[in-house]
Amino acid sequence: MSPRRFPEDVADDFPSPPMTFDDRSGRAVEVRAYDGSEPEHEALVAMYTSFDPADRAQGIPPGGESRVRDWLEAILDEDCFNVLAWCDGEVAGHATLVPDGDGESYELAIFVHQDYQEAGIGTRLIRGLLGYGQRHDIEKVWLTVERWNHPAVSLYKKIGFETSNAESFEMEMSLRLCASEDDE
């Protein structure tokens, strides 16, 4: 694989979870780091097993409970960073950073359940995840997004992601979260 490109400038500081706010429908939402407990794990499984298949992107989340559990096992591993948005005891959204094979950069993904979309939760959730990543000195973050998914692309741009590869079906975007140690 050719090396990924990342912006030279470091992104702004993001807020670190936990954080609470009211969404645009007036619902109280809390964004906090996943704690690895059984109840949190099961609440996340419940969000994904009722996830609208129309909101799948590039094959994830997978369909069916057993596939969801297998997939979550990989991305809830200790070397990943996971943040959840909670509303009324349910998981409304989930954002994750999964380390790349090279161990230097992290792939980002975010999912908001269809009952909680277009309420400003996604923006808070991704900012909270990036704040959590900054607290853990993660330097580089990248993602892929389908080119026609304009709401997602504009969210990522607003956050500070820059397009790093637009040659495939899926557009790759990247962000420099913290200055690298060599620069300091």
Partner: protein
């Protein structure tokens, strides 16, 4: 069926090779394996040729293996047209650390330009 299996050496193309050979044994397909240049491949061309030869030998299949240079997508499409293949088979995309499937530029070109059916192997 006359099948053209395009492989560049990525893991998903190796899966496409194996599936094509397996299917050919039962369906009696006439298979040509076309080894194309893929700059992102972790395997060298001689390694891929060996891998293809081993796969067809193990299955007891009589298939052609050919290596082409130049732009892989347009080579696949034009050979399929010129030699009247029924189908092009390709790898169905790489999986990211997150589990996202990404389709590479070769598959994208072939999907949009081929006049034959195209199968992406998952």
């Amino acid at each position: 069926m006359k099948v053209l299996c395009g492989i560049g050496g990525s893991d998903d193309s190796i899966r496409a090779l194996e599936r094509t050979v397996d299917r050919a044994v039962t369906a009696d397909d006439d298979v040509t394996i076309l080894i194309v240049e893929n700059p992102d491949s972790p395997r060298s061309t001689p390694e891929i040729v060996d891998r293809a030869q081993q796969t067809i030998d193990a299955a007891g299949l009589d298939a052609d293996i050919r290596t082409v240079e130049g732009d892989p997508g347009s080579q696949l499409v034009s050979i399929a047209e010129r030699e009247e293949f029924d189908e092009i088979v390709l790898g169905g995309g790489q999986t990211s650390p997150m589990g996202k499937i990404t389709i590479g530029p070769i598959a994208e070109f072939v999907l949009l330009n081929a006049t034959t059916s195209v199968t992406l192997v998952r």
